[in-house]
């Protein structure tokens, strides 16, 4: 405070000076950024090797298997893209809630709820076409948005932090899925973890050539990226949401309706997550499974953090993480390792980015203090 209130003139002068100085020592900011990113990736690689050592497997062979499993053929690439779609939808949705400084950990449950609503909407139809598919997607969006709204209401009116409400609701959504699969929606004959009765082929999303990903799903994910980008950066709604996130108290003074806007952010993110759930049902699994979300919600949170909550890097990180997730399916088959290694690598990567950020901050403060 004291520093901020010191003489405006000397501050302004000093600011211009420091700007000149900054330009002098980092002529190529992009190169510096790339260097730090490289450092983070190296750190991640080192840590990955370190933690995989106890398992006894060769780390580099393992990584090769992972990448081959996600990129090795057109079919595998298709699977990776099929994972990219829900991951991107969730991550892009999370940017909205992150903008409002909300920790929407409930995104996982919102994916599940989207899948449940989507399946529910399809139950009356044995066969169908485009209208039924659109209806099912809309139902999925509604399901996710409502589940997010619940977390939002608990946060805004009940003052329960969204980390707890979201997490609790994730488990509840999983419980509802299990109950439906083993109860009212169980397959004729015997109920099992393999899920409900598959939906008819006429209700499947159309595939992109030989790949298991649907062009419709890809188009929706791309549209979500562009749409959220425009919404957050170009619209006055986005500016208001940023303001609410930046300082809720000031947002009240500016009469920006912070409560309503937080709820809107929750619902928008939940809607996108619900759409991801619907696509998992319509385009990937064609039924409701206990693991319908494939933990994409949690992974999307990691993506958002790794991207420092900026839109630009999100699609690329999502793709890489999707490749890892799909590739890890090969691990138990080829190397006798647990498939959770993909999660380990993803976690380590994000952690490394945070460590490198922290080190930069630390170095900068040391330099300023000196």
């Amino acid at each position: 405070m004291k520093r901020a209130t010191s003489r405006a003139t000397s501050q302004e002068k000093s600011r211009t000076q420091s700007q000149e100085k900054t330009q002098a020592w980092s002529r190529f900011p992009a190169l510096t950024e790339a260097g730090w990113l490289g450092a983070a990736l190296l750190l991640a690689l080192g840590l990955t090797v370190l933690v995989t050592l106890p398992s006894g497997a060769s780390p580099f062979e393992t990584i090769a298997v992972l990448l081959e499993g996600g990129l090795g053929s057109v079919t595998k690439l298709g699977r990776a893209l099929a994972g990219w779609v829900p991951l991107t939808l969730c991550a892009v949705g999370l940017l909205v809630t992150f903008t409002a400084r909300l920790w929407n950990i409930g995104v996982e449950g919102q994916v599940v709820m989207g899948a449940i609503f989507c399946t529910a909407a399809l139950r009356p139809f044995d066969t169908g076409g485009v209208p039924e598919i659109i209806l099912a997607m809309a139902a999925g969006i509604l399901g996710g948005a409502l589940w997010a709204l619940l977390a939002g209401l608990l946060r805004v009116f009940g003052r329960v932090h969204e980390i707890f409400s979201g997490l609790g609701l994730n488990f509840v959504a999983l419980g509802v899925t299990l109950w439906l699969i083993f109860g009212p929606w169980k397959r004729p004959g015997v109920a099992s973890m393999s899920g409900t009765e598959p939906i008819d082929v006429s209700l499947w999303l159309p595939r992109l050539g030989p790949m298991s990903v649907s062009w419709a799903a890809l188009a929706l994910a791309l549209a979500a990226i562009v749409g959220v980008g425009l919404l957050l950066r170009r619209s006055s709604w986005g500016l208001k949401l940023r303001a609410v996130g930046e300082n809720p108290k000031a947002a009240t003074l500016f009469a920006l309706g912070p409560r309503r806007r937080l709820l809107q952010a929750f619902m928008l993110c939940g809607g996108l997550a619900g759409l991801a759930g619907a696509i998992q049902v319509l385009g990937v699994y064609h039924r409701l499974l206990p693991s319908i979300s494939s933990s994409y919600g949690y992974t999307a949170l990691l993506v958002g953090m790794m991207a420092s909550f900026r839109l630009g890097p999100v699609p690329f990180i999502c793709f890489f993480f999707a490749v890892l997730t799909v590739g890890s399916i090969q691990l138990p088959l080829q190397m006798g390792l647990d498939s959770s290694l993909s999660g380990v690598i993803q976690g380590i990567m994000v952690l490394s980015v945070f460590i490198v950020h922290g080190l930069r901050l630390w170095l900068r403060q040391r330099r300023e203090a000196a």
């Binding site: 209130t5 003489r7 000093s14 000076q17 940023r242 303001a243 930046e246 108290k249 500016f254």
Partner: protein
């Protein structure tokens, strides 16, 4: 004896201290004066070991060091008292007292507190939480603690803000006693010249990070002002203009604001029922110690805290609930003291603030910025500057420029907090202009002189209630101070009110 040699303290490019040398002798009272941002507090933090100087040496009784830590400073008997006491409100008094002291049992701590309280004429219940004390009592507790630790050099940073005149009297007597009878060194950091003139054996004047003069009695007030403010003092005059008296027409105009049996409720306490009214063009100052109810009064008036009972009438329209957006549309605007924390968006630019405050003008933002902020409010900053990079004065200019001209009721918490004298004058002249144009201003300041200088009427709060409303003619430091300390209004005002 303490000698500071050529102390520099730089924050990035800002030079808070720029080569300060200073000698402090025992048994003397020093006043360190200067404008906000002159570097007084930084210098004292260096001495208390709370911040490390960029360069320079500190000589304490023969030992020379490059910097002090809080522990080292304590060992050499240096203790600092902050304006906002550095204590732990949620914890009991005895734990606050014990923390940082050599190991003792709880019983011993109780004894020491009792003994010191007796010596200094204070009264503390060691098991009570510190949050139950007033700012003045918290300061006294800190003072007790520092003395218990063996402090012989006491630094007091703006100690008279937020305490009653009576408490100030007692504090000054105590400091005088400590210096004269116990040979302590006292450094009084203040921006109030009267306090310096009253107390000090020597006045050290700081300006732009350096000590520009050391004055000894007899003091020449004109010279002191000149040293503090430089040439600016001559051209502008040190005193801000007083408020304009309300125009005659306004006196019999319908009241701008009327409260009937209004109850206000905040997160910690509720207050009321209250009756109150204000005319257009009136400046009403609120006086009271921290937590006496004035904060809740302002927040309740604008709808940030709830109004569970009563009627609020604004320009003839009656409201039984105080919904913030509704009142805001009716022209009630609130400016909190903590500007960056409460009222601005630190990472957003000035342009974006304008866009948020005036949604209808999104097409001509830059022109509007130029005319509103730069020309009318003298806000000299690029529209793409972030709010967090603004100085305190510019933050306040920005906030004032965001309030539309038709605002009927302005509610301000400490309008000049953290501002230098020039900015403070500018803010007040703007506020008086608004009042002359018919707006009603209700403001609070912990600085009683500021309240008295700018109000037509002063509303005094005590113990979470509005104790009395005093007219300008009768609002003297003594009267308002007595009311703030809880004296019976009938006695103080002679039963007239």
């Amino acid at each position: 004896m303490i000698v500071l040699q050529d102390i520099h303290k730089h924050y990035g490019r800002v030079r808070a201290n720029d080569g300060v040398s200073l000698t402090l002798e025992p048994g003397r009272i020093y006043a360190l004066v200067g404008e906000n941002g002159a570097g007084k507090s930084t210098l004292m933090r260096v001495l208390a070991g709370h911040t490390r100087p960029t360069s320079g040496t500190i000589d304490l009784g023969g030992r020379t060091v490059a910097f002090l830590t809080p522990t080292l400073a304590r060992e050499h008997g240096v203790g600092m008292l902050y304006q906002d006491p550095l204590d732990f409100p949620a914890m009991p008094i005895w734990e606050n007292f014990q923390l940082g002291a050599p190991k003792r049992t709880k019983g011993q701590v109780f004894d020491v507190i009792g003994e010191l309280s007796y010596r200094l004429d204070a009264c503390f219940l060691p098991d009570e939480a510190v949050s139950s004390l007033t700012v003045g009592e918290r300061q006294l507790l800190e003072l007790l603690r520092l003395l218990d630790l063996g402090a012989t050099t006491l630094i007091l940073d703006e100690p008279t803000t937020g305490i009653t005149p009576e408490q100030k009297r007692e504090l000054f007597d105590l400091l005088m006693k400590l210096a004269r009878e116990e040979n302590h060194t006292i450094v009084l950091v203040t921006h109030k010249l009267s306090e310096a003139l009253e107390m000090a054996d020597a006045i050290l004047v700081m300006r732009q990070g350096a000590i520009v003069a050391t004055l000894t009695p007899p003091y020449d007030e004109g010279e002191l002002v000149l040293r503090m403010f430089g040439d600016a003092a001559e051209s502008e005059g040190a005193d801000a203009p007083g408020p304009a008296t309300p125009r005659p027409a306004a006196l019999d105009a319908p009241p701008r604001l009327r409260l009937d049996n209004v109850v206000m409720a905040g997160p910690k306490y509720s207050m009321g029922p209250m009756r109150f009214s204000a005319r257009p063009g009136e400046c009403i100052g609120l006086a009271g110690l921290d937590g006496s109810g004035q904060e809740l009064f302002l927040r309740g008036l604008c709808g940030l805290d709830r109004m569970p009972g009563g009627t609020l009438t604004l320009d003839g329209r009656a409201y039984t609930t105080n919904d913030f957006p509704v009142l805001r549309r009716a022209g009630v605007h609130f400016v909190p003291a903590d500007r960056l924390e409460m009222a601005l968006f630190p990472a957003l630019t000035l342009r974006e603030h304008i866009a948020l405050a005036f949604p209808g003008r999104s097409d001509e933002l830059d022109a509007f910025y130029q005319s509103q902020c730069v020309e009318r409010f003298n806000l000299r900053a690029h529209p793409q500057t972030r709010a967090s990079e603004l100085s305190g004065g510019n933050q306040q200019r920005l906030l004032l420029s965001l309030i539309p001209d038709h605002a009927a009721l302005l509610l301000m918490e400490h309008p000049t907090r953290g501002l230098d004298a020039g900015s403070a004058r500018q803010v007040w002249s703007h506020l008086h202009d608004r009042c002359r144009a018919g707006a009603t201003l209700i403001f609070f300041s912990p600085d009683l002189d500021e309240v008295l200088a700018h109000s037509h009427r002063v509303a005094v709060f005590y113990d979470r209630a509005m104790a009395a409303v005093v007219d300008r003619a009768r609002a003297t430091t003594e009267v308002v101070g007595a009311l703030m300390a809880g004296k019976d209004p009938d006695q103080v005002l002679g039963g007239g009110q």
